[in-house]
């Protein structure tokens, strides 16, 4: 595993005071927090920053990190000292970035894994887990089956925890929207002392599509048409996330006209609508005949001022 330089992740000196560490963390957290940030790699960056803060803001952990990390540089191969057996038990806040399983292997080799049944509880239900799943827009129309790989802690019988990798095939119903939660009953952490297992919640994210944008259940498509198609009307085959459909462009349409296809948005009760927004694309004239056609157009529209909006 690679050695992680937590000081570099926060951009502070090794001799930084606790206040400097806190200030650096807060500044970076505001910049990269996935709920706030639009930076493309926000989630990964925030995870690094939060993990570094988790290791450095607690004096106990910072001392252990400094001790173990002496002589190591970032990215270097790092072998945890033998005999650690899953790391120390550390006191302090348990809440890390997202789910505790998000910590790097390096972090866990140093500080152990934050899992297991609450102390002193003899029987109880397992905790609920959360994960995110990214689906295509077409999957949201039709429903989808996804295979998830989950890593969940199980008691190892000696008071510690072991990790179990398991595969889960999930049927995602048609009509799910971005940000919605799905519940998978009994797929969270196992209960202890005979208690029931927790649930697994999946948050739906819909991958951005180059042609379609989604607003709740409504979907929008920008449809380029030729000038004569807009002027004279046309029957066009247009793509929807659920396959092609026939669309009638009424004669006399202009760029920006919105055509509503009722019920062709995301399925549901009621289903959303598909809005087709027309844009007019004029071809470049390259032959004499084409130039003559534009010239004829210019003569026919002698009073037309393309820049009438500009200077008023």
């Amino acid at each position: 595993m690679e050695f992680k330089d937590y000081y570099a992740a926060l951009g502070v000196e090794r001799a930084a005071t606790p206040d400097e560490i806190k200030r650096a963390y807060r500044k970076l957290a505001r910049k990269y927090h996935p709920d706030v940030s639009k930076e493309p790699d926000a989630e990964a960056r925030f995870k690094d920053v939060a993990e570094a803060y988790e290791a450095l803001h607690d004096p106990e952990k910072r001392a252990a990190y400094d001790e173990l990390g002496r002589g190591h540089r970032s990215g270097e191969r790092f072998d945890p000292p033998p005999g650690r057996n899953g790391g120390f038990e550390f006191s302090g806040r348990d809440a890390g970035p997202g789910d505790p399983a998000d910590y790097s292997e390096f972090f866990e080799s140093l500080f152990g894994r934050h899992h297991g049944a609450p102390r002193g509880a003899a029987r109880g239900s397992g905790s609920d887990h959360h994960a995110k799943v990214v689906i295509e827009l077409a999957d949201a129309y039709r429903g989808a089956r996804r295979v998830l790989s989950l890593r969940s802690p199980v008691p190892d019988g000696q008071g510690g925890v072991d990790f179990r990798e398991r595969q889960l095939e999930v049927n995602i119903p048609a009509g799910v929207r971005a940000g919605q939660q799905l519940r998978l009953a009994g797929q969270g952490a196992p209960g202890f002392g005979g208690g029931p297992a927790g649930d697994l919640y999946l948050e739906i994210e819909i991958a951005p599509h180059p042609n379609f944008s989604v607003d709740g259940r409504d979907v929008r498509l920008d449809l380029p048409v030729a000038p004569w198609e807009a002027a004279l009307g046309a029957n066009l085959a247009v793509p929807t996330p659920d396959g092609r459909i026939e669309l009638t462009v009424p004669p006399g349409s202009a760029a920006g006209r919105r055509l509503r296809l009722k019920g062709k948005g995301l399925p549901g009760t009621p289903p959303g609508d598909l809005y087709v927004v027309l844009s007019v694309r004029a071809p470049t004239a390259t032959t004499d005949a084409q130039r003559e056609a534009y010239a004829a157009l210019g003569r026919a529209f002698a009073g037309f001022d393309a820049r009438s909006e500009l200077e008023r």
Binding site: R26, A29, R30, H33, D35, V36, F46, A50, A95, P97, G98, S127, D128, H130, R145, V147, R151, D162, F163, R164, E165, R166, Q167, L168, E169, V170, N171, I172, P173, G175, V176, G179, Q180, Q181, L182, R183, L184, A185, Q187, D199, Y201, L202, E203, S213, D215, R220, D222, P224, V277, S279
Partner: protein, 105 residues
Amino acid sequence: MAHTPSTVIDAVVVDETQHFTLMQLVRVCSTEPGQLVALVDEGVLSPQGDAPERWRFSGSELARARKALRLSRDLELGPAGTALVLQLLDEIDALRRQLDRLSPP
């Protein structure tokens, strides 16, 4: 690490038709009741019912509650600060959607 064979599970959408009591939401969000009560006091969450023991949170509030708790924990914000951040994020979302509708393709 042991492997177990895969199983097929039907996912249930947690939408407006489903409801959480305060204690159910506490459990799903792995938080304390006081944290959620503070978010209700700030108007971040709007359960039905006139007293905490009769509160019913709509399923669609789960995502909002989790987002509020993440922000408050990771950015070390109080309930009022969290409420303001969420309100501004909602406004940014609405403006982005408007921009998307207005922008030429």
